[in-house]
């Protein structure tokens, strides 16, 4: 009999039907559908039947079925069901997810050390990721909240002398010029900021504060969005002697009182009335002043500022361009400022440009906080750390897989599908990642204050305020789970059950060994490079603080002298000298070396027609200066305290630069320094006037009480606390209107190396993280190797190999890896630290010991990491190892 060709319902329609049909009804409904179809084929022909079938299938999209279908996904049983209809479990059905979770929980509990190592490794990588992300996110979000941010520009200046110097600051009159000359400018405001000494003479306790102030025009608050809580810009800041402060300062100055209408005194001179309160400044703005003084007040407090010739670093100008203005055209038009307001010679020197608001935070040339490529580098480090953590996880998991091959074999024999096994591993990984993630968030919260302090940032981890952070966290969780879960999942799920059960899995089934090795080498190369850097920078820092700078710096306290009249100074001297712990008193403009208050000026020697080609550091001090700092004279005599005849001391470098052969020759010669004539009376032995980065510069010392700004006290070491307390008391008595502050000279000098200190801390941190991560990588590798070589060890032991030779079996391989890593790391490290040291005029020499130490350290770390696992493997009873078949 001829077999009739079976008519088949349309596949698409059938699939649609399957999709829509609740699983527990599937059998009866599919049967009915099929029967109906066959009936229709006989009655109306195949084409018509297929059409009807499709229509029928579509009609299953009714609420009744859909409701049951969705309910079926959530619970596998229904009350009305008479029997549980058998259906093949999909890998991601509810029941299976429950099962995966149970299994995952059991695995995690069973392999505690494995879980712990994985969680730690991942948590560290993830918290670095989270912190770096929040830091990058923080820097990218600066000054973005202003409504007109895309039209706001800051005016920058360029000075074209021999070299081009760039500033984010401008001459003060430029604001008015912009407003008058350029129609494309909608609003302009100057912002001139200073440090301020705020006091409240009207109050009995007269509290004093140091807070930043800024003179701003009312338009400033229309250009940038800093909303007023009370008052408005026009009313608050148009009259002289009015001020606006933030809510925070209002609270700080006046406690619960209303601040409006109260007044304060600036720098003990000018009184200001508070006419407005600003909302607190957001964290993500570079404008940090919290006191805004009305712009007309500046004529009174800083009248000398109003020139085109000088650029004070605190003077900024913000402009709001009219909508639709082409900024580059505007920028070109700015050339008009140079030609209109400067003479022909200066017009070539002074150039002005517009800088977009978004560029301010990112442009290091104009004092931005961080450059875009630094952010990119940071992000790359973050990605690298997260990926390394994932790869370590993969390493450990696949190594672990060998041990679990039996489990997988059994599960496969029992009917597990590949998809189910795969999802089981993903769920397991997901659970571990989740735990690691929670730990990581905890770690990040703990580490955040330290990071903020180190980098002087104000990063917050507020998941409710900034939507980017939770989104990032969720993505990170999913991505990490899939990256680290899918590879082991695929490998394990792909095992042949028979080989898995026999324990005959080989390396080729587990994935490449050389990739793992490569990774460990890379990790160690990075750790070693960082270690080399850390050791060298630590050495240089020790050199910086311990090397003799050519003057004494111990037990010397520096404090400000706010009023410099000779009478005031001698009164202070008289009182300080009487203090029991004070050995010496000297008034000076700056100590021999100082990161600040360095005044560089011109010098003309002994009737030469023009100023010398070099400039000289100008310091003032009384005759005590030399003995205070232990400076030696190589020729001539010390200064004599007098303000009528001007006497100068030079240092040896200055004499040399003047082209005079012997220091004795300059004694008694005339010299003009900073436009004042005087006589050279002595030559000081050279001392370091700046950090070790720089050569010793020419320095001169003279007596001029008006230029003194500091008082140095040599204190005896006994009972320092009491001495410091009595010094403070005395200072406050002699300077009642000012705020006391003091600093030890050696601490003051540390500020030369603040940046290096930061780099060093970061290096320690990164080196620590890198070492930890590479140890994990190593641990993963050794676990993997041990798992693989169980048989080999068994055979070797049966043939008489000792523990030592078995440990060496592993040790040899790792020694190999470390040496390769070192061969890569050493030249890179050498090159980097050599570049770092080249920045110092006076520095330590690179020596071999550093490099040997680094190699030794990594070996130690490797021995600790590898030792336990390999000794454990070596001690195993060979019977157990061999019996595993």
């Amino acid at each position: 009999m001829k077999k009739q060709k079976q008519a088949i319902p349309p596949r698409f329609a059938h699939r649609l039907f399957r999709l829509l049909c609740p699983p527990e009804l599937f059998e009866e409904l599919e049967g009915d559908m099929q029967e109906q179809f066959e009936l229709d084929v006989n009655r109306a022909g195949e084409a018509a039947a297929r059409k009807t079938y499709l229509l029928e299938a579509v009609k299953f999209a009714k609420p009744y079925y859909l409701k049951r279908r969705v309910a079926g996904l959530l619970t596998s049983r229904r009350k009305t069901q008479k029997k549980v209809h058998r259906y093949s479990p999909k890998p991601l059905s509810t029941a299976m997810i429950k099962n995966y979770l149970t299994l995952a929980r059991r695995t995690i509990v069973r392999y505690k050390s494995y879980t712990l190592i994985n969680v730690l490794g991942l948590a560290l990588g993830l918290s670095c990721g989270i912190l770096i992300f929040s830091l990058v996110n923080y820097h990218l979000g600066f000054d973005k909240f202003h409504a007109n941010a895309d039209r706001v520009y800051r005016i920058t200046s360029e000075l074209h002398n021999e070299t081009v110097s760039k500033f984010g600051s401008v001459p003060q009159p430029i604001g008015a010029a912009m407003r008058d000359d350029y129609p494309f400018v909608e609003k302009v405001s100057m912002l001139i900021s200073f440090g301020g000494n705020i006091s409240f003479p009207s109050r009995r306790d007269n509290p004093k504060f140091n807070d930043g102030i800024a003179y701003a025009e009312p338009d400033f608050f229309h250009i940038l969005d800093f909303p007023f809580l009370i008052g408005n810009p026009e009313d608050a800041l148009s009259q002289p002697n009015t001020a606006v402060i933030t809510e925070r300062l209002a609270e700080k100055y006046f406690k619960k009182d209303q601040a409006m209408g109260k007044s304060f005194r600036l720098d003990n001179k000018t009184d200001f009335t508070i006419t407005g309160i600003l909302k607190n400044l957001p964290e993500n703005t570079d404008i940090r002043q919290e006191i805004y003084l009305s712009y007309p007040s500046i004529k009174q407090t800083t009248p000398w500022l109003n020139t085109w010739g000088g650029i004070l670093s605190a003077t900024q100008a913000y402009v709001l361009l009219k909508p639709g203005t082409d900024a580059s055209k505007g920028d070109q038009a700015m050339a008009g400022i140079s030609t209109k307001y400067y003479d022909a010679k200066d017009a070539k020197i002074f150039k002005f440009h517009l800088q977009p608001l978004s560029d301010i935070h990112m442009n290091l040339e104009f004092g931005g906080a961080i450059a875009k490529n630094q952010l990119i580098a940071l992000s790359l480090i973050g990605i690298f750390l997260v990926i390394t953590a994932c790869v370590n996880f993969i390493n450990l998991a696949t190594a672990q897989a060998l041990g679990r091959s039996k489990e997988i074999g059994v599960r496969k024999v029992m009917g597990s599908m590949k998809g189910q096994l795969f999802w089981q591993f993903i769920v397991e990984t997901g659970l571990i990642t989740l735990i690691a993630f929670i730990v990581a968030i905890g770690l990040s919260y703990l580490a955040l204050p330290f990071m903020n302090e180190m980098l002087s940032t104000r990063v917050t981890l507020d998941w409710l305020k900034d939507i980017n952070q939770p989104i990032f966290a969720a993505c990170l969780l999913v991505v990490v789970t899939f990256i680290s879960g899918s590879y082991p999942g695929l490998v394990l799920a792909g095992f042949q059950p028979i080989t898995a059960l026999k324990g005959k899995l080989t390396q080729s089934q587990i994935g490449g060994f050389s990739i793992r090795k490569g990774l460990v080498i890379a990790q160690f190369a990075i750790s070693q490079t960082l270690l080399i850097g850390t050791i060298v920078i630590t050495g240089q820092m020790r050199f910086n603080t311990q090397t003799d700078m050519g003057f004494k710096k111990d037990a010397i306290v520096l404090m400000p002298v706010p009023e410099t009249s000779p009478a005031k100074q001698s009164a202070m001297r008289a009182r300080f000298s009487q203090l029991p712990g004070v050995e010496k008193v000297a008034f000076l403009s700056a100590p021999p070396a100082s990161p600040e208050n360095n005044f560089d000026t011109g010098i003309r020697y002994a009737g030469r027609p023009e100023n010398e080609k070099f400039t000289i550091f100008y310091k003032t001090g009384d005759p005590e200066y030399l003995s205070m700092f232990g400076l030696k004279l190589v020729a001539g005599r010390n200064l004599v305290s007098s303000d009528t005849t001007r006497e100068y001391l030079l240092n040896e470098t200055a004499v040399e630069k003047l082209g005079v052969k012997s220091p004795h020759e300059v004694i008694g010669k005339n010299v003009n320094i900073n436009g004042r004539n005087g006589i050279i009376v002595g030559v000081m032995k050279d001392f370091h006037s700046k950090s070790f980065r720089e050569r010793i510069d020419p320095v001169c010392l003279t007596t001029r009480a008006a230029d003194n700004a500091q008082c140095a006290l040599k204190v005896s070491n006994g009972n320092l606390a009491a001495t410091l307390a009595s010094i403070q008391k005395l200072w406050n008595e002699t300077n009642p209107d000012y705020i006391y502050s003091y600093q030890f000279l050696d601490e003051h000098l540390q500020r030369f190396y603040e940046f290096d200190q930061l780099i060093l801390q970061l290096m320690w941190l990164f080196a620590g993280v890198a070492i930890f991560i590479s140890s994990l990588g190593l641990y993963g590798l050794i676990s993997f190797m041990v798992a693989q070589k169980t048989k080999e060890i068994g055979v070797r032991k049966t043939l008489g190999a000792g523990v030592g030779s078995i440990v060496w079996l592993f040790g040899r391989q790792f020694a190999h890896l470390l040496v390769i890593a070192f061969v890569i790391a050493a030249p890179i490290g050498w090159w980097l630290v050599d570049k770092y040291l080249a920045d110092f005029q006076y520095h330590i020499e690179l020596d071999l010991i550093t490099f040997i130490a680094v190699l030794g350290m990594t070996f130690m770390i490797a021995i600790v990491t590898v030792g336990y696992r390999s000794i454990k493997a070596a001690l195993i009873n060979p019977v157990n190892a061999l019996r595993s078949e």
Partner: protein, 107 residues
């Protein structure tokens, strides 16, 4: 619990279940209805009615044996319950009263 009522389509399906007796399942019911009513009857609608009737307790069901004709799938066979019969009778009585009232409006 409030009383359950029957919709028009449900009533037809229930009647069909009685008419077909032991052979009442999705396809046969749909075919019977098509013949008798001359309407387009979809399987999905018939099944919804059947499941609702089952939930209301007017029919019971059980799985029949597998046959070759349906791709090896078993049928779900439906039978009327006493409650179902009572319900139909009640409906019929009410309708009779109405028709009587229409025919004899004086009463």
């Amino acid at each position: 619990m409030g009383r359950s009522y029957l919709g028009e389509f449900e009533e037809l399906v229930l009647l069909t279940v009685i008419v077909l007796g032991a052979g009442a399942y999705g396809v046969s019911i749909a075919e019977e209805l098509r013949q008798r009513t001359n309407r387009t009857i979809s399987l999905s609608a018939v099944h919804i009615a059947l499941y609702r009737l089952e939930e209301k307790g007017f029919v019971t069901s059980e799985m029949g044996g597998a046959t070759l004709s349906r791709g090896g799938r078993r049928k779900r066979l439906f039978m009327i319950t006493t409650a179902g019969r009572d319900m139909l009778t009640e409906i019929q009585e009410i309708r009779n009263q109405f028709w009587y009232a229409i025919v004899n409006p004086a009463q």
